[in-house]
Structures are given as structure tokens and as C-alpha cells.
């Protein structure tokens, strides 16, 4: 099918860049629409209507469709983005300029970098081989994700420090403390998953994300096999993305705006996008690891054909799961009250960490037992 593609290195680089832009575009769009979803879902849960005024010229006159789009607020992210662009750039006089400008970039770059290793579907070649759709399907994908996504906290800590304001500073400090506390539990919670996936008798193995996704095809989803791991990972994910009930860095109620108190216009917009990009990537990773990725339902084979239609449907299914998780993030936000700072620390260190360790030990034993029995059979 694709044998007309010249095998030149130059062309390959160009193609990769093109794909990268596509990917960035897709994630950014999703981040933008996550903001809309946040506003809409908040509104609905609070008995309100949400943004329903923005419309592009002429769209309004399309019968039925136009007013519907307007009512759903489809054009709102565009307006929000433009707003950030056209706002006056205000830089307070007391900030450390270099780091102040650097911080939003440092916050955004890791969020976007993690997506390079994110698999989001399969492509069925004519010769019957199947390859994963990802910019780079690394063998150590999950380690890369952990390594890079944790860098995001540098942006927040730097913003808090360079703003030279006590609110920002407290926000930054809280953010780094929270990040360290939950990073541990998050990592530990995933170890049993890989132990399970890499157990003997399983054909695909490794730390690659696509391998994990594929291991769930036709079998149980991993959150059914390892519910505790899934729970700990989910809680830690909330904490890592600074979502409510773990919004310590922002803390609107006690720190004005937290780390971004002194930020405005486009620089604030970058923080904003980074936060939602984190959510999108986080949801996608959770989908890949625990919700079967692009595979259909647990214990069911993919019902779609093994051609380009199947690829599209798989990607669509993956997106649907991710979007549900994004919705879940928002849903939780309007259900749970936020933690106090000491409660956050308490939960992280004295609840989740021991639980994750216990979980690891239990699965170590189980997996060893299964290994022993299966190797005995061999």
C-alpha cells in the first residue's frame, strides 16, 4: 500500500516532523476542547447552561446545525485562545524576568513531549503485519513518560519562585512537594502491572506502552486484574495533573492563583494549556495501561475489520475512552471538595505509598506463584 514512499532519510525526517505537528495539533485541540468541556460540564452539573454565545460569522445562518454548534459553545475555545493572544502583556516589576518568561515554556514542553511515545491505535498493513500508531513506540515508553512528565513541575516551581510573590512561592513549593509525594506511589503502582504483563506465557512483553495495550486484547482489561493499582495510579494521576481535589499549586481559595498569580495574557494561557495537555496525556496513558487502549471491550475481540477502517475505528474507540476519562476528571472536580495541604501529604505518604508497596508485594507473590506453576507445566 505504501510502497510508493521513497526510502530517503530526508523524506522520513520530513514525515516525522509532519506527524509531530499533526500530533501536537491534535493534543492541543483536545486540550482546548477540554477547557470547553470543563466549562460546559461544570455548568450542567450546577444547573447552568455554560458558554453558548460564541459563533463564527455566517455559521449562525446554517439551519439547525449552526445554532446547535453555537449552543454547544463549539467556537468558544477559539475565542478563549484569541483572548489570551490579544490581552495586554503585563509583567510585574518585581519578577525575575528570565525565569519568569522561561517558566510557562518549561511547564508546556514536558506535557507535549510525553505524547511522542503515546500509542493511540494500530495500523494494519497489506502484508498482514500490524504496527502501532505512535510517533515513537519506545521500548521503555512508560519510563520515558514518567521521566519527562515529572519535569513539568519545574515550570510550576520556577514560576512560583521567579514571580517574587508569596502566593506564587507557596504555590510552587506545594506543587513540588505534592509531585514528589505522589510520583513514588504512581511508579510503585505500575510495577505490578508490568510484572503481570511480562509474566512468562505472555507473548508480548516489555515496558513499551503498546505492548501493555495489546496484552489486554481479547482478555481482561488490566484495571479488572489490578484494581488497586488502577486506583492508586488514578489518584496519583489527579495529584500529578494538579486537578481538584489536589489543586495545591493553584489553591484559588487560599493562594489567589497560586503559582500563576503574577501571570497574565498569553503566558497564563500557556500554563492553562499545559494543565489541560497534562490531563489529556494522563487520560490517554491511563486508557492505554488500564482500559485496554484501542481494543474493544474486555474479553471480546475487536469487532472491526483488519484494514484502514479498522484502524480508524480503533483510534476512535481509543479517543472515546480518553474523552470519558477527561470527563471523569471534571466530574470528580465538581464532586469532591479539595483537600487541605496536610491532608494531601498524609494521603500520599501514609496511605498511598504503603498501599502501593503492599500491592507490589502481593502481586510479586502471586506472579511468582503463577510463574512457578506455569514453568512447571513447561
Amino acid at each position: 500500500m505504501m510502497d510508493w514512499i521513497p526510502q530517503g532519510l530526508w523524506f522520513e525526517v520530513c514525515l516525522k516532523v509532519f506527524f509531530a505537528f499533526m500530533m501536537v495539533g491534535a493534543v492541543m485541540t483536545m486540550a482546548g476542547y477540554s477547557v470547553l468541556a470543563e466549562r460546559k460540564v461544570s455548568a450542567w452539573m450546577q444547573g447552568r447552561v455554560g458558554p453558548n454565545r460564541t459563533v463564527l460569522p455566517f455559521f449562525e445562518y446554517i439551519p439547525i446545525f449552526g445554532p446547535l454548534l453555537k449552543k454547544l459553545g463549539i467556537f468558544q475555545p477559539l475565542a478563549d485562545g484569541l483572548k489570551f493572544l490579544f490581552k495586554e502583556e503585563i509583567v510585574p516589576g518585581h519578577v525575575n524576568k528570565l525565569y519568569y518568561y522561561l517558566a510557562p515554556l518549561i511547564a508546556l514542553v514536558p506535557a507535549l513531549t510525553t505524547m511522542t511515545v503515546l500509542p493511540f491505535g494500530q495500523i494494519y498493513w497489506n502484508d498482514g503485519t500490524v504496527s502501532t500508531l505512535a510517533l515513537a513506540d519506545l521500548e521503555v515508553g512508560i519510563l520515558f513518560v514518567f521521566a519527562v512528565s515529572s519535569l513539568g513541575v519545574y515550570g510550576i516551581a520556577l514560576a512560583g519562585w521567579s514571580s517574587n510573590s508569596k502566593y506564587s512561592f507557596l504555590g510552587g513549593i506545594r506543587s513540588s512537594a505534592q509531585m514528589i509525594s505522589y510520583e513514588l506511589a504512581m511508579g510503585l503502582s505500575l510495577l505490578p502491572v508490568f510484572l503481570w504483563v511480562c509474566a512468562p506465557g505472555v507473548t508480548e512483553s516489555g515496558l513499551s506502552l503498546s505492548a501493555i495495550a495489546n496484552s489486554q486484547a481479547g482478555g481482561p482489561w488490566l484495571f479488572l486484574v489490578q484494581p488497586l493499582s488502577a486506583l492508586i495510579f488514578l489518584i496519583a494521576l489527579f495529584a500529578e495533573t494538579n486537578r481538584l481535589p489536589f489543586d495545591m499549586p493553584e489553591s484559588e481559595t487560599d493562594l489567589v492563583g497560586g503559582f500563576h498569580t503574577e501571570y497574565g495574557s498569553f503566558k497564563f494561557g500557556i500554563f492553562f494549556v499545559a494543565e489541560y495537555a497534562h490531563i489529556v496525556i494522563g487520560s490517554a496513558i491511563f486508557t492505554v495501561i488500564f482500559l485496554g487502549g484501542w481494543h474493544f471491550l474486555p474479553f471480546m475481540n475487536d469487532p472491526w475489520p483488519s484494514n484502514w477502517i479498522g484502524s480508524l475505528l480503533g483510534v476512535g474507540w481509543f479517543l472515546a475512552k480518553t474523552i470519558f476519562l477527561i470527563f471523569f476528571f471534571i466530574w470528580i472536580r465538581w464532586t469532591l471538595p479539595r483537600f487541605r495541604y496536610d491532608q494531601v501529604m498524609h494521603l500520599g505518604w501514609s496511605k498511598l505509598l504503603p498501599l502501593a508497596l503492599a500491592n507490589l508485594i502481593v502481586y510479586l507473590l502471586i506472579v511468582t506463584a503463577i510463574d512457578q506453576s506455569t514453568s512447571a507445566n513447561f
Partner: protein
């Protein structure tokens, strides 16, 4: 005598201590809320129903015969806490037949809506029932001068209100009934 009942707090069960069932209940609540009717009023298109006792923009009203009710007694000016009202008193010409006994009427009547706090004291204090805080709730302008409602504007906003007393007409009737000189 009140009896003190000591309630012992039951220890939390394991499932309660994980908080997970409660979180699920909460999630159910928020989710069901999404499908309840919305309370938002789409303001410029939909207008709220103004109750009768609403305190909107203060206005001057005329009686059903279209006559000015205000006699510029300046009590509203006196009682106004933010000093938003400014009246220039004047007299009714002697030859104005329908208002013979009134004698006094405002020459100019200004309410500065940048100062007004909508407290309604002016309506309460008015002995002639001439000033009412009616249902106008939105007033805006581009300059400070625009936000000062003058007499003409106040009467335009106020319109006509029913009169229960026709106080001055009673006087006129008494006079024509002939007990005067």
C-alpha cells in the same frame, strides 16, 4: 429540664474508611444533576419577572389625570443617604386651574444614579406618593452627566400611577362646595 443525650459516634466501617462508596454516591449526585432543568436566564433575550415590591430606579409619577404629583417638599432630598437627589423648588403659576391649591412644584428634579443606592427611603418618605422605585433595573450611560436623571427623564420613566387620595382635588371640591369666602 433538658436531658442531655450522649451520642456515641459509631466507628467507621472499613468501606466507609476508604471513602470510596461515598465518593461513588457523590459522583451519582453530580451526574444526575447534569440532566436536571437549567436555571440560567438568558438575560438580554429573557427578562426576569419583576416582583411588585422591587426597588428599581427611582422615578417620578403623575396622577391618572396626568398631573405632576411632586410638590418639591424636598423630604426625599433630605432623607437620601448618599445625597443623590437634588431639587430646585419652584411654584405653580396661580392661573393653572387644575392645580390651584398645590402652589408648589419642582422646577428641576435630579437624581444622580451614580450615587443612588436604591434604598427606597425617598419612596417611603414621600408625603405625596410621587416618587416610586419601579421595575427599571438597568440604567447605563457613557458619561457621568448621562447618569443624572433630570425631571423629564424621571417622569418618562415613571409614567402614571393610580392615586388613592386625590388630596388636592378634595380641597378644590371643598372650596367649590362653598364654605369659603
Amino acid at each position: 429540664m433538658a436531658k442531655t443525650v450522649v451520642l456515641n459516634r459509631k466507628p467507621l466501617s472499613f468501606s466507609e474508611r476508604t471513602y470510596l462508596p461515598q465518593i461513588v454516591t457523590g459522583l451519582k449526585t453530580t451526574f444526575s444533576n447534569m440532566f436536571k432543568p437549567k436555571v440560567t436566564l438568558q438575560y438580554p433575550e429573557e427578562k426576569p419577572v419583576i416582583p411588585n415590591n422591587y426597588r428599581g430606579v427611582p422615578t417620578l409619577v403623575k396622577d391618572p389625570n396626568g398631573r405632576e404629583k411632586c410638590v418639591s417638599c424636598q423630604l426625599c432630598e433630605f432623607v437620601c443617604p448618599p445625597k443623590a437627589i437634588r431639587i430646585t423648588p419652584g411654584s405653580v403659576p396661580e392661573d393653572q386651574n387644575d392645580r390651584e391649591h398645590v402652589e408648589k412644584a419642582p422646577q428641576e428634579f435630579e437624581i444622580n444614579m451614580l450615587r443612588c443606592i436604591y434604598c427606597g427611603y425617598c419612596e417611603e418618605v414621600c408625603p405625596e406618593e410621587a416618587i416610586f422605585l419601579q421595575d427599571v433595573y438597568s440604567s447605563s450611560g457613557f458619561t457621568r452627566e448621562e447618569m443624572v436623571n433630570n425631571k423629564a427623564k424621571l417622569y418618562e420613566l415613571g409614567g402614571t400611577m393610580p392615586d388613592r387620595h386625590y388630596k388636592w382635588d378634595k380641597k378644590k371640591n371643598a372650596e367649590s362646595a362653598g364654605n369659603s369666602h
